[in-house]
Amino acid sequence: MSEPRGNKAANNRQSGGASLQKIGTRKRFSAWAAHHQLVAVETLIRLLRNPLGSLLTWMVIAIALTLPGALWMALDNMEQLSGRFQESGRISVYLTPGTDSRDGLALEQRISTLSGVSATDFIDADSALDDFRNNSGLQSALEFLTDNPLPAVILVEPPLDIGHEQLMALVTQLKAYQLVDSVQLDMAWVERLQAILSLAERLIWVLGILLALAILLVVGNTIRLAIAARVDEIRVVKLVGGTNAWVRRPFLYTGLWFGMVGGLLAWLLLILCWLLLHDPVGELAELYGSGFTLKPLSAGAAMILLLAAMLLGWLGAWWSVSRHLDEIEP
């Protein structure tokens, strides 16, 4: 049994001696990996050696990525803002008109002991009318009223971290009290804001896809020019037995580098945007009595941006190479 196998091995060695199949699989793989490394470095050097031409492509990619990136950053901040409003959503509990102030105060006491309530405030009908008179500018008109049309109100503030379901349970609980006429949760505008934000998100997607196509075209065209500049080399490589993958490789890496550097530049531009807007936004928020500050793009989002840029660069190169490479034959 061992003899035939030995013979076979000897035969293989012999027949392989003068022909091509003399490189083992492992060696072949390490050569393949080494070629990837070599090509990656070579293509980067090639790009850096012509910084002006490369910069143009990099900047186009960077700007095309900065636009959706900036919108993304804005949206992220708006969501943070709306979240904050949602957290501070107050519940107004209107009591049946004509309720006695002492009963109202007693009810406030009971409500303040409920779980899911962090603070309460009782405003009786008279002080509600006073407030309205002072703030509305309808002072003279209100003089004609014989009765106080306003109900007494208990303002209920849930804790900041209350969940939606808990909040709804609290509302149901409050409605159940006999003295309570109606309960209003100031959520409608928060929901409206959220609808606007989801629309904006959709818009970012549309814009992002359009700009991604633009990046594909830009990289594709740049790679097409790179291929045209290296037609002789490609012809010779194919002549001496270079596979299509081998010929494609440097161009794919070039696309990858275009995407990566463009993505990094976009990141820098977004940081620059943030630096420029951070202080004015802070001042504006302060004028509205809010502690809101503009957050930069998170590290995770920046990574996604970078990876998307690399993928787009690679895809653009692939598209261009697959279109033009077959035309070049020795």
Partner: protein, 235 residues
């Protein structure tokens, strides 16, 4: 000597090649080259010499007939297999097709890089190939700095560096003076002596007659053996 299939390097079976536009470059060509054989391919310009060589590299495909190289039926090769055929066939061109944006070393090592040799092994082989064409020590030069004859030798070194079993040359001495031409031919004959099958297309009849090897003559797409030395007596 019997011609067993294992002994045949190249075989053309009723091969015709018609280019789009109707011009028939080759019509019904039949011939065989045995392993280790040395032959010239002659004929007037436009007789189909380049076409015949291109068919062996699959730079062209025949309109009719079969081409076999090293036992491979080229008609059955898929596009993805063509590179592996070309690694078995070294080619030398009249205009040598060197890349002037890189050194002599990088030009010659290109086929080895493609075939996946380690830099160490490739280095050994490149130096051996350059040594065999008498250009050792010129690795770092750019081909532009070299003379026409030297450039042609770099092209030959690149063609043989991967030790292909078949070596083709298309007018390799077309631009060279007679003395340099003789030197280049001498080189080819030395490769034949180490077992390489060599086919050289040339119209330098004087040189061919002086060297006296097997001659394939193309005339308007038809192939004839030279009657005086036909028969493949070099095997």
């Amino acid at each position: 000597m019997a011609r067993s299939p294992g002994n045949t390097m190249v075989r053309f079976d009723q091969v015709s090649k018609r280019y789009p536009g109707g011009k028939e470059a080759l019509s019904g060509v039949n011939f065989e080259l045995e392993r280790g054989e040395f032959a010239f391919l002659t004929g007037h310009s436009g007789a189909g010499k380049s076409t015949l060589l291109k068919l062996m590299m699959l730079m062209e495909r025949p309109s009719r007939g079969q081409v076999l190289v090293d036992g491979l039926n080229l008609g059955r090769l898929r596009a993805g297999q063509i590179p592996y055929l070309r690694r078995k066939v070294g080619v030398v061109f009249q205009n040598h097709q060197l890349l002037f944006d890189r050194s002599v070393y990088d030009n010659v090592s290109l086929p080895l890089q493609i075939a996946g040799y380690s830099p160490l092994e490739a280095g050994r082989r490149v130096r051996a190939a350059l040594d065999s064409v008498g250009l050792l020590g010129m690795e770092k030069r750019n081909p532009v700095e070299l003379s026409g004859g030297e450039q042609q030798r770099v092209g030959i070194a690149r063609a043989v560096v991967n030790k292909p079993p078949l070596l083709l040359a298309d007018e390799p001495t077309g631009n060279l003076d007679p003395e340099l031409s003789a030197e280049i031919m001498d080189l080819f004959m030395r490769f034949q002596q180490v077992g390489v099958t060599v086919l050289i297309a040339t119209h330098d009849i004087a040189l061919v007659e002086r060297l006296g090897h097997r001659r394939l003559i193309l005339d308007h797409g038809q192939l004839h053996e030279d009657a005086t030395i036909a028969g493949g007596q070099y095997v």
